[in-house]
Amino acid sequence: MNLAILILLLTSPQFTAGNLLLSMSMPAALIPVTVKVDFGPAGKPSVQKEFTIKDHSTPKEALSKVLPIEEGAICCHPAEVKAIDGVSGDPMKNRWWRLKINGSEKKASPHKSHLKAGDVVEWIYFEDRQ
């Protein structure tokens, strides 16, 4: 009899809804990441910060926890990072922001990549001398 009541409780709509509410109110998992910003030819001091952020955050979201950013199409997409702390990509001087995740540019997207615990996100301002 007790077992039947327990099964009934576990399968009841109230119970599952309660579970759902419980999971919704739980904070998302936080992961540690490192963000480095190298201002290169802009001449500002570099910035490095380790902190926790929601799992699956994008590099752009992580960056915005460290410094003010401006979104905009400077290469290809309006969701890119156009400027960091007032330093904007400069087509006339051929200066651009480059993103690396764990030392690699491959598949590193400001708004599409998702970070995992321990990732190092680097934003490097560089001048293409060509």
Binding site: G72, A73, I74, C75, C76, K82, S88, G89, D90, P91, M92, N94, D128, R129, Q130
Partner: protein
Amino acid sequence: MKVFQFFFLFLAITPIQSLFAYDLEGKVQIQPPYPQAIELKVEEKHAADCGPVKLSPKLRVSPEGLVANVVIKLEGNFPSAKFSPSTQNYLLNQIHCEFSPHVLLIPEKSTLSILNSEAVLHNVRAFDEQTKMLFNDAMPVKGQILRKRFEKPGRVIIRCGIHPWMHAITIVQEHPYYALTNESGYFQMKDIPDGNYNLSIWHEVLGEIKTQIGPQSRFLTLTYPPFSNGAS
């Protein structure tokens, strides 16, 4: 009497603007030592299409110290000034992995044709002075033409997204009183309305200097201080 008749006939057929206008010629020079255009080593992946070395188009100085691609602009409002009616096709060519011409003047609200004259993929990206991207188009086909209309005056930088040395500057004019120095460093500006004006002289590497002109000005020699950056 005949002389007067001729004079009045002349007045009748000559636009007032031309009657009280003057022409200006000049040259732009730089103080020595004269910088040399930098040779750019092309990345190996592009060398087969574009050659192993490119000459930077940014700063071209003649052996006499005269500077090409300097934009001369009369400052002021000229609401009644008209661009000379022209069927000119404003063309920016991509040839030998370079934009040609490097600097181009076009009137506002006119259309620029961008041509790819070679079987090399180029990616044309244009930015305004606020670094806003105006367009971004791949041009994979030899003979392909893009037509882009420029509504607002200002400087537009055009770059190839594939070949980083490739860039051009298009100056969209709000009035006709602009000039560009040629390869020898000389310029000419015609039919300037009578009066004194500030003149802006701009070069992408050397920057901007200013001077004043008036109807007495006929030939100007404009001089940049020595260039010390070394990044031409």
